[in-house]
Every structure is written in structure tokens, then in C-alpha cells.
Assembly symmetry: C2
Homo-oligomer: 192 residues x 2
């Protein structure tokens, strides 16, 4: 993991630094030079491991999916609730905690999707990572035995995205409020 001098290997340091900076400030707003400086690495080393900034950003989005989507969101949802149905609602409890962090950074997938033009590989990648999240919700909905898992997942993700943007505007209680509409959606499906 770490070499004798106590440092992680260069590729790992680069990606870690890119993760911190890209997720906090956005991909476009962070230059390669800053990543090089803050990861204490030579510029040539970065370009040896990642042929372009775009490739580095794609690796960042992959890492974001592992750390944010899987190791945080999915993991917390499963920790907080035990039944699939409760877990669908727990998404909004997890979001509530997230929004209230003093260093709330927003969703890199939404930010990247909107920052990059269509046909940009980063735009496509962000869209993909968002659809992975929807797949996760759809799985939960399926396990919960709802009538139309795809539809439920779509509607819940609308609320999640709306809440994330609202939180970026300063509505820190957006998740708590979105949760009540999420409940409504689940009740409605059960009633059909």
C-alpha cells in the first residue's frame, strides 16, 4: 500500500487528490497543475498514468461510483433499514444527513452531466453512473414487491435529483421534505 517513506504510490495519490478537488469544485474548475501540486507528483507522472485530463476525469467518476454510490449511499441505506421498502425511504434519511454536512459538495454525476455538452464522453459517463443509481433503486423496488419497479425508481430519482439541486440552493431540509412525497408514491403504488 504505502512505500517505505510512508507515501502511497503516485497513481493512487493523483486519483485521491483528483477525487477531492473534482468532487468539491467540479472538473472544469480544477486544472491539472493544481492536482499535480496537491498530490506532490511530477506532471509527467500524471500524464504517464492518465493520457489526458478527460481520462483522469473518467477514472474520477468511476471512483466516485465506488466511494459515493456503493460504499456510502448503498451501504448506509442497508445499515439504516432492513426491509426493501424502508430502504427506499432511508435514501432520503441518508441524503438528509449529507445535505447538513458543512462541506456538502453536491452530486458529481449531475454536475458533470450539466457541465459537459452532449456527445462529450464525460457527459455520457455521468449519465451512465446516474442510471446505475436508478438500477439500484429499481432493485430495491423489485424486492419490495411494488407493482411497477421501473416507474417507482424513476419517480424516486426525480425527487432525489430535485432535492440535491435544492440543497445546492440552500434548502438543507430538501431531503426530509422529499421523503414525504416518496412515501406518497409508495403508498399509491401499493393501492393500485
Amino acid at each position: 500500500m504505502t512505500d517505505p517513506s510512508g507515501q502511497s504510490p503516485p497513481r493512487e495519490r493523483i486519483l485521491d487528490t483528483a477525487y477531492e478537488l473534482f468532487s468539491r469544485h467540479g472538473i472544469g474548475a480544477v486544472g491539472v497543475d493544481r492536482i499535480v501540486a496537491e498530490s506532490s507528483v511530477a506532471k509527467m507522472t500524471l500524464y504517464r498514468h492518465f493520457p489526458s485530463k478527460t481520462e483522469l476525469a473518467l477514472a474520477f467518476l468511476e471512483l466516485r461510483e465506488r466511494r459515493w454510490t456503493r460504499d456510502w449511499l448503498q451501504s448506509e441505506v442497508q445499515r439504516l433499514a432492513s426491509t426493501p421498502r424502508d430502504r427506499l425511504l432511508a435514501i432520503f434519511d441518508v441524503f438528509d444527513e449529507w445535505f447538513h454536512r458543512p462541506d456538502y459538495e453536491g452530486c458529481s454525476f449531475i454536475n458533470t452531466l450539466l457541465e459537459m455538452r452532449e456527445s462529450d464522453p464525460l457527459h455520457e459517463a455521468a449519465a451512465h453512473h446516474l442510471s446505475v443509481i436508478r438500477g439500484f433503486i429499481e432493485d430495491l423496488a423489485g424486492q419490495a414487491g411494488v407493482e411497477h419497479p421501473e416507474e417507482i425508481a424513476f419517480q424516486l430519482q426525480l425527487l432525489m435529483i430535485g432535492a440535491i439541486v435544492a440543497a445546492g440552493r440552500g434548502d438543507l431540509d430538501a431531503a426530509r421534505r422529499a421523503r414525504s412525497t416518496a412515501e406518497l408514491i409508495l403508498v399509491q403504488d401499493a393501492g393500485v
Copy 2:
């Protein structure tokens, strides 16, 4: 309006061009030089009317509120439906047409909110213009006699924002689908 040679005054041409480019490509992605070129104006003329690019972008957001929020969204909603309650739902019909346009450009307020860092005047301005839209929805909700107009407006705007981002990802039917949850929210309020 137009001078003898058939051209609008320079300030108007600049703002029109900025409107087209900023709303389609985002503020950060469009340089002052391109606006200068496409509005057939000298660079000094632009900086005579707008002291900085930020001021020009603020004027663009104001214009966006007039053209998009007032002259298009509000106007279409009132044209399509006659009762306040129907008008709340008509928002999503108007969005449906919007999303299906081949040149769907997204919401400049959301884009700017996420593109600019907090404390940036453009971030604040975008947040303001979004709250104006929520005020419009809240007014309609009040006229519709719902129990909690502020809450209804908040929830409907969550759906609107979620649908706009989903449309940016390619879900062109996001508005039509969001509409059904909007109906649910209104029914729920009526039932309390």
C-alpha cells in the same frame, strides 16, 4: 427599434447573442470574443455597455427570466389551462413540449447554480431566479385553495428540477411521468 440600416442597437444585439450562446452552451463555455464576433460588434462596445463578463451574464439571467419564465412558461401555462389547479399540472405539459424540441437547451438557472461556486454573484442570482419560479407556483397553489401552498410549491419544483435534469440525460418523457406524481401531490393535499 432598428436603425436605418436594419440593425438593432449594439446593446440589444450583444444581449441577444449572449442569450442564444449562454442559454445553449452555458456561461463558462462561451467566451466574450465569440459574443463579440456573432453580434457583429466591437469588443470595446461590449465593455462600454457591460463592465465585465459577469455583469453581462447577470443581464442574461434577467433576460432569461423575462423570456423563459414569464413570456414562455407562465404565459403558456395560462394559455393551456384555465383553473389554477389545472395550471399547476399544465406546467408539466409545457415542459413535455419543451423537452421534445430538437434543440432542448436545459434550464439556465439550474446550470448556472451548479456551474458557479457559492458566493459567486451568478450563483446567487440563479438561486434568486429559481425562487421567483417557486413564487409563481406558490401563487397558483394559493389560488387553487390548497392546504399548504408553500409545501406544494416546493414539492412541485422538486419534480420540475428532477425532470429537467432527467431530460438532459435523455429521458424525454420525464415531464409526462413527473406529471402523474404531481397529480398525486395535489390529491393528497386535497385529502388532508
